[in-house]
Symmetry: C2
């Protein structure tokens, strides 16, 4: 397999990234970010994986979605496990060819068809065994003690739903004047935080069941540095711009004020220390690594096209669900125009943080 598994990242056209300049710029940014995470993952696995001495390695990507990200992550994990094994073989420990079983998990409405059609040839040749596992990762998805490495990337800031109180007119946490958790109103923040803690707790508990003793869980995601409010980050600014567009659309009668007031994104960026607390709470894992991911191009401002494209890709579904498809396209168009007229001033924003967490399952 080593000879046949390509080492390059699969490249798919970025949605909305049509300008050659912005494409090159943003793809360099993305490549730098991906490379940084890939290196970190490789180093952590080499340093922290126990000598499983297995014939079969079972690896799951939770919330895999489709495309190059999940395929690349899994490939990196497999290559690193092979490398580690080679190192052990040189010490005479092992000379079997192990099997790798990969479980791609996402909700049943994920586009598994596209994922399966874009699997590299070595999956189809069954050098690596691939399965799709439909289901919510807030529940146990695999047998007890059956997984060796779990991974999830950019999934845990998505809540399964919006906290009830932020949509409730009679609650102190009613988030009438914003569509997200700005961190300006304590009651709103607490409502979001409570749901986040409950859901990430359920996620970790489910993985506790599934991972073998010594098994690893790699978590990548977005949070806020301690003390930073969401509203001060460029992502917070984007959410506010979206809200402005929605209000204008309500005034033009394209949607209603009530619809806008009752809309809240099911997204929560925890502060770094909140995240740490949740990770420590379960008690069945040791936190081997928990740190910020940095890369050489991280301070480069993002282009408008890139921001519009990212927003379109990630938010289309949740907006469409609340407002209907007539509104979502109009909104995304208005937002793109608004960005061109008033580009985000990155110097004026505070930074959010990409985190890397590496957990090891304790022995029961």
């Amino acid at each position: 397999m080593a000879n046949r598994m390509p080492t390059s990242i699969h490249s798919y056209p970025m949605i909305g990234g049509d300008g050659p300049h912005s494409y090159i710029r943003n793809s360099s940014y993305q490549k730098a970010a991906i490379e940084s995470v890939r290196t970190k993952t490789r180093e952590a696995i080499l340093a922290k994986t126990p000598n499983f001495d297995l014939n079969i390695y079972k690896i799951a990507d939770f919330g895999c979605s489709v495309g190059s990200n999940t395929l690349d992550v899994v490939q990196n994990i497999i290559e690193t496990l092979k490398l580690k094994r080679q190192q052990e073989e040189n010490k005479g420990d092992n000379n079997e060819h192990p099997e790798f079983h990969v479980f791609f998990n996402d909700k049943p409405d994920n586009d598994f068809n596209t994922l399966f059609k874009t699997l590299p040839q070595y999956y189809l040749d069954r050098e690596v065994f691939a399965c799709g596992v439909p289901g919510s990762f807030y529940h146990q998805l695999f047998s007890r003690n059956s997984l060796h490495i779990g991974h999830t990337s950019n999934t845990l800031h998505w809540l399964s739903t919006t906290p009830e109180d932020v949509c409730n007119q009679n609650s102190q946490a009613w988030n009438k004047n914003s569509i997200h958790c700005t961190n300006l109103v304590n009651e709103v923040t607490q409502a979001y935080k409570k749901l986040f803690e409950k859901e990430i707790g359920a996620f970790i508990e489910a993985r506790t069941q599934e991972l073998v003793s010594g098994g690893l869980m790699i978590i990548l995601g977005w949070c806020l540095p301690d003390g930073v409010k969401m509203i001060r980050t460029w992502k917070g600014v984007v959410f506010d711009m979206i809200e402005d567009c929605l209000i204008h659309m309500a005034k033009s009668g394209i949607t209603s004020v009530e619809k806008v007031e009752s809309f809240n994104l099911p997204i929560y960026f925890p502060q770094f220390n909140e995240l740490k607390e949740v990770m420590e709470k379960n008690g069945c894992f040791t936190i081997e690594i928990m740190e910020e991911v940095k890369h050489p191009m991280e301070d480069m401002p993002l282009s408008n096209d890139f921001i519009a494209s990212i927003f379109r890709t990630t938010m289309h579904g949740v907006i469409e669900e609340h407002f209907g498809d007539g509104v979502v396209d109009e909104l995304l168009d208005r937002f793109a125009k608004e960005l061109t007229k008033h580009p985000i001033d990155f110097k004026d924003c505070q930074k959010d943080m990409q985190y890397f967490i590496f957990l090891k399952r304790k022995t029961d």
Copy 2:
């Protein structure tokens, strides 16, 4: 789970089955056929399954496609295993609640999205663990000794491709005057038979690797009673009608004579004794049951709508691949009209045969 798993068959609208009379008629026919197979499967599992005494049962449906068929088959297998376990528990053998892992296999271009979206709730509640496994079942798809029960239904008469010689002008087996294996020309039959034997051999060999000692393989499919020629069955008559339609379309310039002459369905119905030979050849299974499936309504003539609908559902892909999408819709329309003008005379046809095979993996 026993309380929540519905016992009825899931019902989806039949494609093309719009006339109330024909729907009722054909659905009764189908129900009778399904019920007959279901009873046979249940009895065979109860009588022949070893006392696995397992915590986890792994079940695979090879070539699952989508819809009620695969879900119903798997549900029947699980319910039967539970029943068998209950009987054993009453004897005091076992009182654990086992897990059931179901692997839905089909080629990567199968519509797994629809399959996953239509999974009954007990899968989403993880009372049964479901995976999609993309890949060709002519290769090993699972680890050695990892499956307990395999199943495949109406898949093995489909060859992975058309035998090379039947499309080759310079071969004795060139099948110029037909689009299928009529069994009228010995060289054509031999070319189809050779490929069929190779592929079914590969299928059985792959399952030999995957099934545990004592593991079961249930195979349902279509063949011909010994001595019956395909051309004499109603399915053979249908293929000939399709060919006539294609020839008329070539004359009208909608497709070309060369296209029609080079088209051959990748379908082979073996004679019952040929099939038996192939099953015995591998040697790693005992043939516990190999017999015809009969049901009370099998001699009832099928309606034109039903035949047109079945043909459309099963043949659309293979015709489109050869002739392009412009031709396939026109062809299916012409065929439906032709059927109305000249309905099939079932009394004049010889019967093909639905077979049921139940294999048990020998101990190595």
